[in-house]
Symmetry: C2
């Protein structure tokens, strides 16, 4: 297995991206991903109680349809807190795209990212659709990846190939951040494409595992977006033996984990204002949820993150965050090791000595630049 | 009832503060509060699982003794994460102070605030004790209030007088912050003195109510300290009819609430780097815990706090924080009102329309100055 940060689409997938004028800047803001044949799909969404219109529509489609063939996504507008009108706009977008692609409306997934509370400029999307559809190509991920960016400073892609029986399958993915750090840019999108032949059940459990170990293990500012969406489409074009269980499923899960973790790390590296990449590992917790809670409590501590920015090795701030996490621990059992704060990559290791579970979380420092970006954003 | 920000000690109390050399700066760092007669006492401590040595010792004394006569507190060192040595140092301090005051060790409460993980300089405290005890006077709150400060830019006191039957009772209090914002300055201390004659049960429930409605309703950076302590001593010298229940208890509770809320607001006003004072009120929640959770979720959102600093009225950030709070709400029922962000005092009102409960939380903005202070602190 070889993991790359450059992605080309697997067999049978096409993509494209255009500037529809949703962003004031005129930068690309409308992306389309398409499979020549129907795909199995799995999706995970934010657990925020406010969910943007496209998420609501996706959930409806996932109930109604068993196969999917396209994902349409825009940046520059989150279509969130837009009420009934927002749902109508999302639906009209799906209907129009389905018509242009010659597929059913229910086999389209839809995603939006950008500012909250403003109406989606549907007419602009409508006007841009013909160009978007006619541009679809097997190389079009290059345009599509740009069209989902908001304050991202670079596009994020990853690809892996692995052997399933006699065949090689490919998993390619594109993501945009900027972490969970900018919920009103609303926020994290990740679209994953594979030519693997895999059962619906195996696809769903693989995605859940991969997300739990990657996107759910990163934190920029502890804020949770209304639009976070991770979707995977599997079109079976690699013609491998069906991935269902045991060795093949293990191989697929492992590959998908690597792709998602790579993208999650890229999101943290491109977090707003970040100057440090911080890995926090908690060892010896009673169970995985406790290990993760302890690590996240440190990752979300403004005081710890500010100390990292200041290169100020103040271990008291780690202790305080651990104690406040609610996780079982005793002062006398606690051991903490922190690598040099002078370097760009910082490693924090915490031993709770309460059990045998561990968890890793990735985060970044809190900087004046984060405040500048978010104070001035409109 | 008249609430003042200037406090004089109630009948029978004395205080003093000196420079013991615990702080490198040479500023006052050791305070003593003393009552001529034994007092009833009630205390509340941080819920952080790491608890500093003085908190552990206080809890032991509260179990062993029914009356208290003194509080000794130092700044500049939290005596936290100092293991068995820390407990010994706290105990030796209590023993020495008790001897100098001619009282039992168990009738002393002890508190520390300052940096975590360094040994308490007991010898310096020992050397300063004679001067501290001989300086005790009914006006000594002026010195004592300075000796508990860390990065506070001003001393915080409040006082109220109220009528209980034919007598006037006084509640005077002193607090230091700087909010919950600097756990490694470890952090919030509040000492309250009253000459009221009040039952143990009434004193305890009054303190809990007051803290729930004041110190537990403020947040600077969501960080929870290891040393937070609120203590009240009641010496009965006002000779009022015993406060136990009904009207008299209601009056006392009301007065204590006002004192604590005043100090809580002062803590927020003096929060590190803060340029805005923000009041968040959530209306129409199903119950009080939900109202408070929703309000705290907004108060702890870095994005919302940064928007306040930038005077950028971005209501999407409030919506995101509310949705992430886990509280029952529906997009269509939500109503939000925000006063002008250009002013120093910002009012946020949120109507959930799910029930009849409300809660108020106070916080401040997140500024580059907060980062500067906490990045450079050693």
């Amino acid at each position: 297995m070889k993991l790359l940060q450059k992605a080309i689409l697997p067999i049978g997938f096409k993509a494209y991206g255009v500037s529809a004028g949703i962003k004031k800047s005129g930068k690309p803001d409308l992306a389309l991903f398409f499979s020549d044949v129907p795909c199995k799909a799995a999706c995970l969404f934010t657990s925020n109680k406010i969910q943007a219109a496209p998420l609501q529509l996706c959930k409806e489609h996932l109930k109604k349809s068993k196969t999917f063939q396209a994902i349409i996504a825009n940046s520059g507008n989150a279509n969130c807190f837009t009420g009934r009108q927002g749902l109508l706009d999302a639906e009209k977008t799906a209907i129009l795209a389905a018509k242009a692609l010659g597929i059913k409306k229910e086999s389209i997934l839809i995603a939006s990212t950008g500012i909250i509370g403003r109406r989606l400029p549907f007419e602009k999307i409508k006007a841009a659709l013909p160009k978007l559809v006619s541009g679809l190509s097997s190389q079009g991920i290059e345009q599509a990846k740009l069209a989902i960016m908001t304050t991202d400073t670079f596009a994020k892609t990853a690809m892996i190939k692995c052997q399933i029986g006699a065949k090689v399958i490919t998993i390619s993915a594109v993501a945009k951040g900027v972490g969970m750090i900018a919920p009103n840019l609303a926020t994290m999108l990740c679209f994953i494409f594979t030519d693997a032949n895999i059962s619906q059940k195996a696809l769903k459990s693989s995605l859940k595992d991969a997300v739990d170990n990657s996107f759910n293990c990163i934190s920029v500012d502890g804020c949770m977006s209304t639009n976070d969406t991770v979707a995977i489409l599997a079109n079976g074009q690699a013609e491998n033996a069906l991935i269902e269980k045991e060795k093949n499923l293990f191989t697929f899960k492992n590959a998908l984990n690597l792709v998602c973790l790579e993208l999650a790390k890229l999101l943290i590296k491109d977090a707003e204002g970040a100057s440090k990449f911080i890995r926090i590992k908690v060892w010896g917790a009673k169970n995985f949820p406790q290990a993760k809670s302890a690590a996240l409590s440190v990752a979300n501590s403004n005081l710890f993150k500010t100390a990292c920015y200041g290169e100020n090795p103040n271990f008291g701030r780690i202790i305080v965050a651990l104690g406040a996490s609610g996780v079982d621990l005793k002062e006398k059992d606690l051991k903490i090791k922190v690598s040099s704060l002078k370097k760009k990559d910082i490693l924090v290791d915490v031993w709770l000595n309460q059990g045998n579970s561990s968890a890793v979380v990735y985060t970044c420092d809190l900087t004046p630049e984060y405040i500048r970006i978010n104070a001035e954003y409109n």
